[in-house]
Amino acid sequence: MAGAVESSLVSEDTSGTEAVAAGVVGIAAILFGISLGSMFELLSITDPIAGIPMVALLGTLLTLLGLGVIGFGLGSRFGYVATDPRPSAGLVASVAFSGIWFAVGGLVASQSFGLGTVGWVAVAFVTGGLAFAGTALPREDIGSTLPVGVFAVFVGVVFLTGVIGPSWVWDLGWEQQASFNAEFSIPVITAFCSLLVSWASAKAYGGFGARGRHVGAYLLVYLNALSIIAVLFLLVAFTVFKGLPGLFNGLTFGLGSGPETTLFGFTFAWPFAWPFVMNGVALLNDVNGVLPAIVGTIWLVIGAVVFAVPLGVGAAVFITEYADRGRFTQVVEVATNGLWSTPSIVFGLFGLAFLVPRLGNGKSLLAGMLTLGFMLLPLVVITSREAMLAVPDEYRDASAALGVTKWQTIRSVVLPASLPGIVTGIILGVGRIAGETAPILLTMSGSVAPPGSQTVDVIGGFSFTSSPPFVSNPELLQATSALPYQLYSLITAGVGQSSNIANIEQFRWATALILLVVVLSFYAVGIATRYYFRRKLQHE
């Protein structure tokens, strides 16, 4: 009975603190939002919010937050709040806080008081050392709140007194000039402070000790994951937003409205006209498009897959099924991992030195295909090998027990069982190489903005000749374009080379969007395939 009373007392007590701590975290979140908004120039630090000048508002809030955090620490230290602190805040926090206070001391000494190098270093060491001692020596509840709170109050006072005001500028005085101004510094400092304060109050919320650290760390880890997803979402959404107008420019539907296409001797007209993906660039076009680049990308991917997949799967079969584990398989593994991490531009250089002189002595589609195939190869080997290793040995044993040969086991047991993994790996690898620019830049790139007539026609390009190699295809040996290269050349091209394009900005964003769509759809298909097969495996 006594225990029940006690526990209810404690929970009431902590719930009061928890409410305050949650309030502090809430204010910190608002501050963080304001600073993000002003960094993206949605808010201006010169404008007042609700009649209060922005900087003064930030300063006031930061001071309050700092006082709140100090309050937690003192309240816990003097026993007003039931917590479970450890003897010290720990080394990580001590080093981090002494770093912050080292910077504060150094900046104040050198910028506000104008001390020389020796002076500011000395001051910085004193403040940093004090912060280290202040964090490491006292009990955890003081050590992890006081340095943070004092820092927030300090920054708040600096903002309130106008030491750093809206027109503040710190010229670094370097030969190549650069300076920090208020528009950048105030939001960044505010965001940093609010992060620090929320970490400290999350710790207080958890009652310090092991649980407090747990809560504080989880706050940061969750925030990190959230911001990664936010960045991804922002990137994609921004590109879509900027690219959509150019992409659907002049889109019309209706029977026979599209261009005519002849495929395998059969001519038909598309039921819609989508100029951006059906036209090239020409003077007389109403809407210019990127058809040659799209077709170029498709052929590149096909060529690379045709080259790399048989080689890669074959190599994976050999090292997983035939070879004994030893020196040889180790060498192969090191080589494939080395190839996997080789920079794409090095593949480009290799293609330039090795393939270009041997394939018609000029940049060509074929050289681009093979170079991208070299890049795709290690990915195929690695993923196929992983998929084959994941096939249980029981399968192989069962098959071998039937008296069939090794190759029959591989063909009818190992390969089918590992097919999902192989296919997923190939799709993801293709997504990666389809967006690569550097290798094709050196081996395949053609004109900046090719007209529609320069669309490659690989199937129609084959012809037989009387001299070896007896088959020739001029289309394969021509320089052509691909989406990533087209985007690159549009960025770097001068005005003269792309003067046919009326709205170059819109055209670039639309190209970026279509490249993103092509590449991400490979990824979407790859990831979806993986989920599909995984679910199927789990249901079995």
Partner: protein, 377 residues
């Protein structure tokens, strides 16, 4: 010492003898017709390869012979043909790495030779590439120093690692230890898609949005800063760090974590005192691979930097960005020839060797971790 080497020699000889014996057995056991077929195929492929290397127009003939021979073998002696073909593909994978090494070295050699400096009467080829800081491919004296580009690459890589390593490891912890299942199913594909966004799209956004913004914010003359190239490249290296570090964290045996949790620790305590230390080598391998990605990243750097090789003033001034090793190649390949072209290959060699060492290093670390964890169980 001597006995050891004797043993080694004896062991080698025995191994060679065993191999020869195995080869003999193999020849004895196999049908002669199958043996002839695969031999013809192998010789034809070798001839085709030599033909391709020597830029011969007759390359196609042995290649067709190879195709016919292996096609015939596939129908008549599938078992052996499959084995030989898969061996061929394996060898060609290693061969490609070797060819890359040989070809970029050969192309780089003229500039290395040009930059020979004689120290105490000993000629040291390539030394001047690293002791001067002057890149001047047009106005004499012609100099192809790699120092400015190495400086740029180092700055970008440091910034990128500062972005990618902590965020990546934290995200990996989140994915492997913390996140509830549904959240993980959402975040993991997100990270993968982040890896999928083409580098040129990152570069384009950096070029049109980030660079003008940075110039405005920091009162910089012109556009292009190592700082923001580093941030963008860090973002691009992030997925590599996350996925490799997550694998490492996942490979820590569940029994170790449960043992710690059973002692009444919090999840976070278990992570910092059990999971992270146990997976430390794997996590550092992940960071190394991320560094490798950052060093090799090309397009974002090419588009966002100024493309005028030179050191920044002062050296730690990250608000100006001139050139990295990768952007030098991508920006100058078009109008370079002769020694300048060869200098671009020198940059390629430096990149290739550095990243290869990082890759091998991280593999070694990972292998050691596997051994350790395997032994601990």
């Amino acid at each position: 010492m001597t006995t050891l080497s004797d043993n080694d020699g004896g062991g080698l000889r025995a191994a060679a003898r065993r191999e020869i014996q195995r080869g003999r057995d193999f020849v004895d056991e196999t049908e002669p017709e199958a043996l002839v077929t695969v031999t013809v195929a192998a010789v034809a492929l070798l001839a085709a390869f030599v033909g391709f290397l020597t830029v011969s127009s007759l390359t196609a003939i042995p290649f067709v012979v190879f195709l016919v021979a292996s096609g015939y073998g596939w129908f008549r002696h599938q078992e052996l043909t499959a084995r030989v073909l898969t061996l061929t593909t394996t060898i060609s994978t290693i061969l490609i790495l070797g060819l890359i090494l040989v070809f970029i070295f050969v192309e780089a050699w003229p500039t290395v030779e040009y930059a020979t400096v004689t120290v105490f009467g000993i000629p040291l080829p390539g030394l001047r590439l690293f002791v001067e800081a002057r890149w001047s491919p047009v106005t004499p004296p012609l100099r192809y120093s790699m120092v400015p580009m190495i400086h740029g690459t180092v700055l970008v890589t440091i910034i990128a690692t500062a972005v990618a390593a902590p965020l990546g490891v934290a995200a990996a912890l989140f994915l492997s230890e913390i996140a509830p299942r549904t959240v993980r199913e959402l975040v993991k594909p997100g990270v993968e898609i982040l890896a999928g966004i083409p580098s040129i799209v990152y570069g384009f956004i950096g070029f049109t949005i980030l660079s003008p913004w940075a110039s405005d914010q920091f009162d910089i003359v012109g556009q292009g800063t190592y700082l923001f190239v580093g941030v963008v490249v860090g973002l691009m290296a992030l997925p590599t760090v996350v996925s490799v570090a997550e694998d490492a964290l996942n490979s820590v045996p569940e029994s170790m974590k449960s043992g710690s949790l059973a002692l009444g620790t919090t999840d976070w305590q278990t992570m910092t005192s059990i999971t992270l230390p146990a997976a430390f080598s794997g996590v550092s391998a992940a960071v190394l691979l991320g560094v490798g990605r950052a060093i090799g990243e090309t397009m974002a750097a090419t588009v966002m930097l100024r493309g005028s090789p030179g050191l920044t003033e002062p050296l730690y001034n990250v608000f100006y960005g001139n050139d990295t090793l990768t952007s030098l190649i991508a920006a100058n390949y078009g109008d370079a020839d002769g020694l300048q072209m060869s200098a671009l290959f020198v940059a390629g060699v430096i990149l290739f060797i550095t990243v290869l060492f990082l890759s091998i290093g991280s593999q070694y670390i990972e292998a050691r971790m596997q051994q350790k964890l395997g032994g601990a169980e």
